[in-house]
Amino acid sequence: MSNIQGNAHVYGDNIDTDQLAPIKSYMNMEPDVGCKLCLEPLDPDFAGAVKAGDIFVAGNNMGIGSSREQAPMFLKLLGIRAVLAKSFSRIFYRNTLNFGLPALVCPETDKITKGDVLSIDPLAGTVENLTTDETLACQPLPEHLLSMIADGGLLPHLEKRLKKST
């Protein structure tokens, strides 16, 4: 898995799933349309501003709330390629990794401002802020998840594993 390089979109603590995926965004909408409503209650300009390869940066307890996995799905569909946060809410953390989207615990997200260009090595767990020329420490992903991330998420990982066993 190669490095991820993109612009940072920076938000605060407790970004909840009702904001990441408001109910109207998935009730009657296909994900490619619904994702345009991602974070609408907090920042209506967010979805339009994301470019492929960008990185979502948050404070503590990222993804608090419901188990709805449209929350990370929408981020991925919009083009987000990694999520950095000081800490994650547990279901969102698992959901994000299950989509093959690296979710990295980075205690120093305060050192990132909106628009900074970041380069992330998801397997090593390092973040370089190319704008400020700083290197930020992240917790490396748990070992048992690295191969799943490398396979692109839980479903491709399962496919590989189940095919191997038959």
Binding site: N14, D16, D18, Q19, P22, I23, M27, N28, E40, P41, L42, N60, N61, I64, G65, S66, S67, R68, E69, S87, S89, R90, I91, R94, N95, N98, F99, P142, H144, G153, L154, L155, L158, E159, L162
Partner: protein, 425 residues
Amino acid sequence: MMSMTLSEKIIAKAAGKASVVPGEIVICAVDVAMMHDSSGPRRAGKYLDDLGVPIWDKDKLVVITDHYINDPDPGSVRTQEISHQWVADKGIENFYPEQGICHVILPEKGHIKPGLFCVGADSHSTTAGAFGAFMVGVGATEMTGVLATGEIWIRVPETLRVSVSGTLSSGVAAKDVILKLCGDIGVMGANYMAVEYGGDAVKAMSMDERMTLTNMAAELGAKTGIITPDWVTAETLAAYGADNVDVETWQGDDEAKVARTIDIDGAGLAPQVAAPSNPENAADVGISAGTAVGQAYLGACTGAKLDDLRMAAEIVKGRQKSKNTRFFVAPATHRIRDIAAKEGILKILEDAGAKILLTGCGGCIGLGEARLDDGMTGISSTNRNFVGRAGPASSKLYLGSAYSVAAAAITGQITDPRELLGELL
């Protein structure tokens, strides 16, 4: 033998190990998997079919429809069709369509008992811990992995032990205990942990009340909430038709190590209300008293169990709702609705001006008649009040117990329910 908490004992059994320690990552065999119409057939079911593998053990899967039910919206109708079709195709017998909310239906139909390791594709799956089971919430993709393999990885959680002493005062309920905790330790106060509730006040609670505590462990960020089973658990489960209930084996060791202990003075606890838009904005009801509310909603897995309806009836009996406030009651399951009708509780609520809605997640997730209007302030017995959840982003929601919701329905404003029970006179 190493001392273990109840959670650790259940995880160890599911992982096929003699013991486990917090922080360890283990693979657990799943005893019960639950999914609903939102996360289930249309998502996890579809992903499984795309993988082209069968369900590992269809007798261990329970499918419940509760999110998009009783709703004419074409997307909702389609979701129900997909659910029925998928369940029929797979020959799943444990299917409960449109009979109530999953976390309440699951124990009510005898699927939960002490010692089971369970997974649910919904964040409030923590509820089942009230019966001494260990149940975690996951997303639909994760559930697909469970459906395919019958296994899930889990990091053994540290335990936060919450002890509630004394006897709760009249007009104070389990909801006030859990809101107090949300206020004290915050919505990430128990991240990744198992919250184990105990103490005299918890031992004295009915299963309905205990379920409120474990349900909202999710609002503390916890992996699950759990309560040591006792004779109340056994009697309730017997009434629900669960077989081979073993309360004695599934007890935690007193000397087991826990990460943190919190003591709550149950006798001194005042009713709690969480201000918009976060459950951790909880404080004594007096602080929010006088705030006008356009809607009072008694609903959801958290706040429309039989005991919740009984509490509300106690408050509204012989009174009339405020003309400025809509008052909705959506019983959590059909069984609860039927018993409440038989006990005369529904009539008391209706006579006070409440409209009884069909069961389902409804107003809690901003669906149906109890969705808040633009700019409206409401109070509800549900679990979350995040911006944009129960209504448009311009609406505001307070959370409280069934007592507090009923009191607000009568006076049209947030009110200490003890005033209506004559406790503060």
